[in-house]
């Protein structure tokens, strides 16, 4: 029971990472795709929005990893072996993206330098979510089962074939589309200038379409690539309400965007992406790494779980007010005046 709760908290941490860190990645995508007469303004807005919060947003991933290796060591060990290559790619992406962002911000005002770091930041922001999505997709395929090194013999079968599948790639694209959607929707609220806001509204609508298309693609490929997950998504008794809610959130998000109700669009888009993540998590319950490693089987001893639970509760007492403070200072309603006075 404790193990299931902590697994839930792990998904919650991942959820926070997707909503916050994911949007930071999406911001990088919009930096890469910045175009039109307000190209520079679009990039400035992205940098301004990410600047104060990206370090904190990024820690959600570390929290998820730490929870995984503390509370479910065998699952962490197995994923680290079988997904070694895509995770290494994710790391390279995270390193380049984070450093490039800081270097751009503090590296001086010369245009050439700014552009060069901006390019590194943007490309890393594009590639990393795809690899991250492929790693998550690979878990859903059930390819990572048994012996811990995939199915079959040899380097390719063990370390590449498990995640380099059409289905996992579709999940990667889908992840990227979700991140881009979140970023664009958030940025409609961050923009001060009406025309800039409209730029991101168009981008958000485009990303919403991309989410829809890539989700369809992933579901279609799941028939071959991830039968277990598809089974879970179609059959389990949780499936229908989840799918209805997800669809509803998607419709609300797009309608709200269309009508220019950005605050509502933000809530709906965040709900849509969260529901997708939880839908995936619930569909493979009670498995942590399908088809054989369950939450209970991978769980650390009860003492460890209990102590981590206490640490999480105590940590939340410090963390939640601090986070609320951070976001109030930089994302609160009075931020626009503060920015414009600089």
């Amino acid at each position: 029971m404790t193990a299931a709760i902590i697994a839930g908290i792990l998904v919650a941490a991942l959820n926070a990472y997707v909503l916050l860190g994911g949007a930071d990645f999406g911001g990088g995508v919009w930096d890469l795709l910045a175009r039109g007469p307000r190209k520079a303004a679009q990039r400035d807005l992205v940098a301004h929005a990410i600047g104060p919060v990206w370090e904190a947003n990024h820690v959600w991933l570390i929290l998820a990893i730490v929870l995984l290796f503390t509370c479910f060591p065998p699952a962490f060990a197995r994923l680290a072996v079988t997904l070694n290559l895509p995770l290494t790619g994710v790391l390279v992406g995270i390193v380049l993206r984070g450093s490039a962002f800081a270097f751009r911000g503090y590296g001086g005002d010369r245009d050439v330098v700014q552009r060069r770091w901006g390019r590194v930041f943007a490309i890393a922001s594009l590639v990393t979510p795809i690899l991250l999505g492929m790693a998550l997709g690979a878990i859903a395929t059930g390819n990572l089962g048994e012996g811990g090194s995939g199915k079959g013999e040899g380097f390719y079968a063990g370390y590449v074939g498990t995640w380099l599948t059409p289905f996992a790639f579709a999940v990667g694209l889908f992840t990227l589309a979700c991140f881009a959607l979140l970023a664009a929707v958030y940025l409609t609220l961050e923009a001060e200038d009406e025309s800039l806001r409209r730029d991101f509204r168009v981008r958000a609508l485009g990303a919403g379409l991309a989410v829809f298309v890539t989700a369809g693609l992933a579901l279609w490929l799941a028939g071959q690539g991830a039968p277990l997950m598809r089974e879970g998504l179609m059959r389990s008794r949780w499936a229908l309400p989840f799918q209805i809610a997800t669809g509803l959130a998607a419709v609300v998000a797009l309608t709200a965007l269309w009508r220019g109700r950005y605050a509502l669009a933000r809530v709906a888009a965040a709900a849509q992406v969260s529901l997708i993540l939880w839908g995936w998590a619930v569909s493979q319950f009670p498995y942590l790494v399908p088809p054989d490693l369950t939450i209970a089987a991978a769980a650390a001893p009860a003492t460890t779980l209990r102590l981590v639970g206490i640490a999480l509760a105590a940590g939340a007492v410090v963390l939640i007010p601090s986070l609320a403070y951070l976001f109030r200072v930089f994302k609160g309603s009075d931020q626009r005046s503060a920015v414009s006075h600089q």
């Binding site: 370090e55 904190a56 730490v66 290796f69 072996v81 460890t304 601090s322």
Partner: protein, 441 residues
């Protein structure tokens, strides 16, 4: 290069890279907070300028530290899945706590760096204090996890499996206190001296502006006490190693034979074939005295350990000598600086003092690297001392060398970029004009 060696090389490289940024992340906020507090008290705009310029440098270093730390949290599994499968439930606890401490640090660093114009001065100072405290705490928690690898406890070993796991006992292992004290002091000493050294160097180059005088004073205030205390904490740590990890101590001192009244050996070439150390200067009785508080005590040599279980003796010995040598120099310079400050003499007019401080700029971090080489290489061939061999922890995936090469390139690249960016910040440092710096972060 074997996969094991490539994996060890990558882990060592990642840690050696990260530790510089981690040390800066622990100590730099203290310098910023002191500078800002001095501004609050004196309203001397030089202090505000100083706090802001230090904050800019810290922002770059912290970002690189955060991402290189993320790499490490993944590498624990990507390189050592066997270790994590065994140890995750035992030492995950300090990592979880570190997660929260680091979270707090990142949040308040955001407020500190970007909040100059957004929050009240009091809230801003509070954010700085939170960054300093949580930065120190995250270092402490990570070192606790490492200490457990040297002094594993808090579980029972049954058929190769850890049962009856007690995470709190694991955190309270015998190596925790000596290692935590030694590393925390190292962070303050290394960063304090690096900053002091840079400003001393700029003053030697003729920029004896108020800006650099204030900077030097604050940096020494943080670095010098830590450097003076460090030899004592080092003695405490070595006494612990003598009792718990005799092979590591023997390698540190290149002591092959078990001896009563054992000497310390300065320099020297440990000859692994002949099992003796050539060309070293032996100072008799000192090792026995330092390790066991008795000049006649018997210190076990490497001969008490099977040859297959020896660490790399020359590397451990030389790393240890490097650390002790540089640390001693810093302790003396720190003491000199404190004495000058006490005498209220015009510390900064003394070019000789500025020169010795300037020379010390890289020493603290070199000593820190040496210290980690001692503790990590000295523990080999064990990843968990006496419990699990490093060879049994490594990932089964072949081709480690390729990834090690990729990360080596990335780290070299980042190191070059960071150095260029920071030196540009420093070269641009002001001949102070009295004009307020721009508030942009």
């Amino acid at each position: 290069m074997s996969d094991l060696l490539a994996a060890r090389f990558q882990m060592g490289m990642s840690l050696a890279f990260h530790i510089v940024f981690a040390g800066v992340g622990i100590a730099m906020p203290v310098l910023m907070v002191v500078a800002e507090w001095r501004w609050h008290r004196t309203r001397d705009p030089v202090y505000l300028d100083l706090a802001k310029r230090w904050a800019r440098g810290t922002a770059i270093l912290f970002a690189v530290g955060a991402v290189s730390g993320t790499v490490l949290s993944f590498e624990l599994g990507l390189l050592w899945p066997g270790f994590m499968r065994f140890a995750g439930s035992i030492i995950g606890m300090p990592f979880s706590l570190e997660g929260f401490a680091f979270f707090t640090e990142a949040i308040f660093l955001g407020v500190y760096l970007y909040g100059w114009e957004r929050v009240s001065p009091r809230a801003h100072r509070f954010a700085g204090v939170m960054v300093a405290v949580s930065g120190a705490l995250s270092g402490v928690f990570v070192v606790i996890a490492n200490a457990w690898m040297n002094a594993p406890t808090g579980f029972d070993l049954v058929n190769g499996q850890a049962v009856n796991v007690r995470p709190l006992a694991a955190m309270a292992n015998a190596a925790t206190l000596p290692q935590v004290i030694h590393m925390t002091l190292a962070a303050y000493a290394a960063t304090g001296f690096a900053v002091a050294g840079i400003h001393a160097w700029l003053m030697l180059r003729g920029r004896s502006a108020a800006f650099h005088r204030h900077a030097l004073r604050i940096a020494l205030l943080v670095g010098a006490p830590a450097a003076i205390l460090q030899p004592f904490s080092g003695h405490y740590a070595a006494a612990h190693v003598a009792r718990h990890q005799p092979a590591k101590l023997a390698a540190m001192e290149a002591l092959f034979e078990t001896r009563a009244g054992a000497p310390i050996t300065l320099g020297g070439w440990p000859d692994m074939e002949a099992r003796r150390t050539r060309f070293g200067i032996e100072v008799p009785y000192v090792l026995s005295l330092l390790a066991f508080d008795d000049p006649r005590a018997t210190v076990p040599g490497l001969e008490t350990v099977p040859r297959a279980d020896w660490p790399n003796v020359p590397l451990v010995h030389w790393s240890f000598q490097l650390m002790v040598g540089l640390g001693t120099y810093m302790a003396f310079v720190g003491a000199w600086g404190m004495w000058l400050v006490r005498k209220r003499s015009e510390l900064f007019a003394r070019r000789r003092f500025l020169a010795v401080v300037a020379i010390a700029t890289p020493m603290g971090f070199l000593a820190t690297e040496g210290g980690w080489m001692v503790t990590e290489l000295g523990r080999q061939p064990w990843v968990i001392y006496g419990v699990m061999r490093t060879a049994d922890a490594v990932t089964p995936m072949p081709g480690q060398m390729f990834r090690t090469g990729v990360f080596a390139l990335i780290y070299v690249f980042l190191a070059v970029v960071v150095t260029v960016l920071l030196s540009r910040q420093i070269v641009r440092s002001p001949m102070y004009t009295g004009e307020f710096p721009s508030p942009t972060p």
